[in-house]
Structure formats: C-alpha cells, structure tokens
Amino acid sequence: MKRYFFEEPLVRPRLDEQFHVPIYRRASIRDVISIGFGLFVVSYLLTFFTISVTNLFIRDPMQVDMQNIFRPPSFEYIFGTDYLGRDIFSRIVKGTEAFFLPGLLSISVSTSMGLLFGIIAGFYPRSFGRIIFYILNIIDSVPRIIFIFIIIVIFKPSLYLIMTFVGVTSIPKVTSYIKSKVETLKRQRYIEACRGLGLSRAAIIFKHIVWLSCKSVLLIQATLGMGEAILIETSLSYLGIGVQEPTPSWGNMVAMGKDFFFQGKFWLSTIPAVVIMVTIMGLYLLSDGLNSVYNEKVSR
C-alpha cells in the first residue's frame, strides 16, 4: 500500500476513478523527496548560470596563480585549485555556460518537433503516421554518438550545432509518447463533446489535447533531455572534441584532473565528476517523481 505524504480522507477512491485529484495529494513520500532534490538541482543550475553570465561574486576562472597550485579544498578555496592555480569552484560555476543555452536549444527542438510530429501521426496514423515513423526509425537506429561524430566531421564542431542534432535524435521518443497519447485521447467523450459544441480544431488540439493532457509528457521529456544534453556535452568535452581547454567545462575539467589522479591529487577530477553526477541524478529523479505524480509511463 502506498503511503501518502499529506492527510487523506478515510475512504479514498482509486486514482484512476477520481475526476480531479490535486497534484500534492498524489505524491508519496518518495516522490516528494525526488522532486525536491530535482528542484534543488534546477535552482543551483539557474543560480550558477546567472552568476557566470553576470561575472559577480566569483574569482576569475581563467586567472593563473602559480603561488597556489594544487591547493586542497579549504575555506579560502572551497573546491581547491588546479595545476595552474585556478579556482575550481569558479570554474565549475563558469562551466554551466557550456551546456545551459545549447541544452535549452536541444530540448526546445526535441519537444516542439516531437509535439508536431506526434499530433500529426496521432490524428492520421495510417497515412502520415507511417511515413513519419519510418523517418524517425532511421534516426533512432543509428547510435546517437556515432551520428554526432559524423556531424562533427562534416560540419564544424560547434556545440550549438551538436546540441541541435542531439535534439533531433531525441525527437522519435517524444513523438511516440505524444502519438499514443493523442490516439487514446481522440476517442474520449470530452473531445467528442468539444467537437459537438463546435470548437475549432485548433482549439481542441492546442487547449484540450496539448495543454491539458500532453503538458506532463513534455515536461518530463524536457527534464530528461536536459540531463542527456549535459551527459553528451561533458562526454564530448572529455574526449576533447567539445569545449576546448582554457574555457572551462565540467567534462574537460575531469579530463584535465585525471592526469593527477594517480598522484593522489584526487579532488581535481573527483569534484567535477561528483557535480556532474549530482546534477544528472537530480534531473533523473525529478523526471521519475513527475512521472509517478502525473501517472505517466514515460521511460528514458
């Protein structure tokens, strides 16, 4: 039996039988913890991005200081300094710039195109749906990173371009969820009632299908898309084909610090790796919590 976070009446009808249940009543303790942790991660990402854009409150992340190389974490340097004496904390704050706007670009591409294709394929599953799914299967069956490698060789390795293609490669997933949602929704009574009341097709699609029912799927997929964007950006920067060295990125900080790992100077690569881990874990937990609250079955 699921334990609920807030007080509930003695006789509680089952969730799928109820007409409207407020979101806070649907959340179990586990959901509240996951969503809370996820919101914490989102808030510190936003704070870091704001700080790094405005250049307030932090040391210069590029400032070389040969007096203070390899300082372990202390009160003065919260996360220590690296092999050129640069402050690791301010480099981590600055490193959010590497994925933040490209990641937003990627999730906006994937959700908007996925919504468009999903609605078309859901309304016309026989004709347009088959063509759309054939094209999306082509994108889906090549492993994403090999696709990105080909893009890097053909065009120039700009992070915005790479993230656009990351967005393109996650269109198929969004499309299939939106399509199945639209296919079940269009046979529901209330959509029929809307049509009977003479609402325009645009109003039915955008208000009653997209806004009132597909919002949660899009929110979950956007959260997961941001996590994937961070993972791709850090991996590419680690491999050395993303953000290049003087500009900080969490991936190239791990790559730089791994050379000193075997000397016992573990904080150089461990701290960026832990930051990546906590951020991605927060986004995954946020999406799983939203999934269970909204009763969707969306997978990664």
Binding site: P143, I146, S235, F261, Y284
Partner: protein, 291 residues
C-alpha cells in the same frame, strides 16, 4: 512456426529498408564534402553502387590511412559485440534483484539504500567511474590487470575483459530505469485481485507475478537500450583502450575518415536490428499473441 518465420522475414525486410534510408541520409550528407571516397558519387548510380558495396561487404581502402577497412573494422566489431552483450547482461543481473526487493518489501529502511545506489550508478559519468575502478583495482590493490592487447589476452582472455564489461554494465544509465520499471510493474501485478487471492490461499506468488508482470516489459526495454549502450561503449573503449568499434570511430573522427564512420554506422545498425529480432522471437515464445 510459420508465423514466427513470417515476422522474422518482415523484420529483415524492415531492416533492409532502414539501411537504405540511413545510407541515403549519409550519401546526401557526404556529398557536401570535397574529395572521392566510399559513400561519394554522383546521382542515383553512385548510391546504388554504395549499397552494393555495403551489402557485399566490399568496403575498399580508407583514403586517409590507406588500410583495408574490412581488416580494420571486423575485429573491432567482434570486440564491441562482446562488450555490449556482456554489459547488458551485467545491467540486468544487477538491477532486476534490486527492483524485485524494493517492490516486495516497499520503500523501507532496508531497501532504499539499494534504490539510491541504482540512481548513483546510473548517473555517475562513465569516464570518471572507469578511472576510479582502474585506480582501486589495478593500482591500489593490484587485483586485475588493465587491458593489454597482446600478451595478457593470450594468457588469460577472461580476466582482462572483466573490468570494462562491469564498468559499462554498472554505469550505463539503464540501471535505475530497469529498477523503476520492475518496481512499478511488480507493484501493479501484486495489487491485482487474483494475486491477492492466491496469496490468501498460501501459494508462493512472487514467481508467478514476476513471470506475469515484468518479463515482457523487461525484455522490450532491455533490447531497446542497445543503441545507448553502444554510445556508452565509445567512452569505455576510449578509457580502457579496448580495441573496439567505438574507439575506432573516435580515431576516425579525429582523422576525418568518413568511410570508416559510414561502415561503423552500418554495422551498428546491424547490431541494433539484430537485438530487435531477438526481442521479437523471445516475446513470441513467451506470449504468442503479443507479436
């Protein structure tokens, strides 16, 4: 049996269609580049020629390094298949018991550490985890060797394969997802009336509920993870110096060697679609009406 043969044939036909589509996409992209190499030509004739060469496995010579692509790619293909299959196996072995435990006992004090552990494993970056494991096992304790391609493999091929397969199996991001899936499905099945009645009669419900609830979604999600695991294999192969397809793809990216990348994309589609065919056959034997 004719029905099984039918959907295998249908799947093969669809695979062929997909290969045609992917190569058409690559062909269009490659014609933006100057130079002459595999995957380059003019008009429909060049495209038909490219398809012929791919399907008869006559890839020719790489224009950058001058090495025969076939001798370069096929050993790497074998190594990547070993890495992918092994790490899929490890992921399932690790995550299914955690999911069953967490569903059967609820989110209690003795099951939540495992769930948290699954989230940590699936979100830790592979490139850091690899170095960490190398440091712990090879450097600090001296238990296992790091991958050495020539001498050590001939002496003991088993032990050098262990670390990379475990690292990729633990830290590809499917562990926490499989845990969540197994927990949800098992909870759903355990709450149904016939399972409750069977429990009241004193029967052992867990095995039946597992078979009923989680087997079909588990199989379909595990085989749909294959492209992501190949993506993770690129980084694991780079970290462990594993002579596989991902490392080859990375090297040919640095050398701007497009024909090798094209052949690698072709072969990885073959791996992904082979996974799909195996999934369909398994689902057919579990419940014939699903397919």
């Amino acid at each position: 049996m004719p029905k099984a043969l039918g959907f295998v044939l249908r799947e093969l036909f669809y695979t062929l269609l997909l290969i045609l589509g992917v190569t058409a996409l690559m062909y269009m992209l490659f014609n933006l580049m100057p130079g002459t190499f595999l995957g380059k030509g003019s008009g429909l004739k060049g495209y038909v020629d490219l398809i012929k060469r791919l399907l008869t496995l006559k890839f020719g010579v790489s224009p950058v390094t001058g090495i025969d692509i076939r001798s370069l790619v096929f050993p790497a293909f074998k190594n990547t298949v070993i890495l992918t299959v092994g790490s899929l196996f490890i992921s399932v072995i690790i995550s299914v018991p955690i999911g069953i435990f967490s569903a059967f006992r609820g989110f209690k004090s003795y099951s939540w550490p495992f769930v948290v552990l699954s989230y940590i494993l699936s979100s830790i970056p592979v490139f850091y985890f690899g170095y960490f494991v190398i440091y712990i096992f090879s450097r600090h304790y001296g238990y296992l060797p790091i991958y050495r391609p020539f001498v050590e493999v001939q002496r003991n091929p088993f032990i050098t394969y262990v670390i990379p397969i475990f690292v990729l199996g633990l830290s590809n991001d499917s562990v926490s997802e499989i845990v969540r899936l197994v927990t949800n499905e098992l909870n759903r099945v355990m709450g149904t009336d016939y399972v409750v009645a069977s429990k009241a009669r004193g029967e052992n419900v867990l095995v039946g509920a597992m078979y009923e609830g989680i087997l079909i979604p588990l199989i379909s999600i595990v085989f749909s993870k294959v492209p992501y695991i190949i993506g993770g294999a690129v980084i694991v192969e780079y970290v462990f110096n594993w002579p596989g397809m991902g490392r080859l793809a990375f090297q040919s990216t640095l050398q701007r060697d497009l024909p090798v990348l094209l052949v690698i994309a072709f072969l990885s589609i073959l791996i992904v679609r082979a996974g799909m065919i195996i999934k369909d056959i398994l689902l057919y034997y579990i419940s014939p009406k699903e397919v």
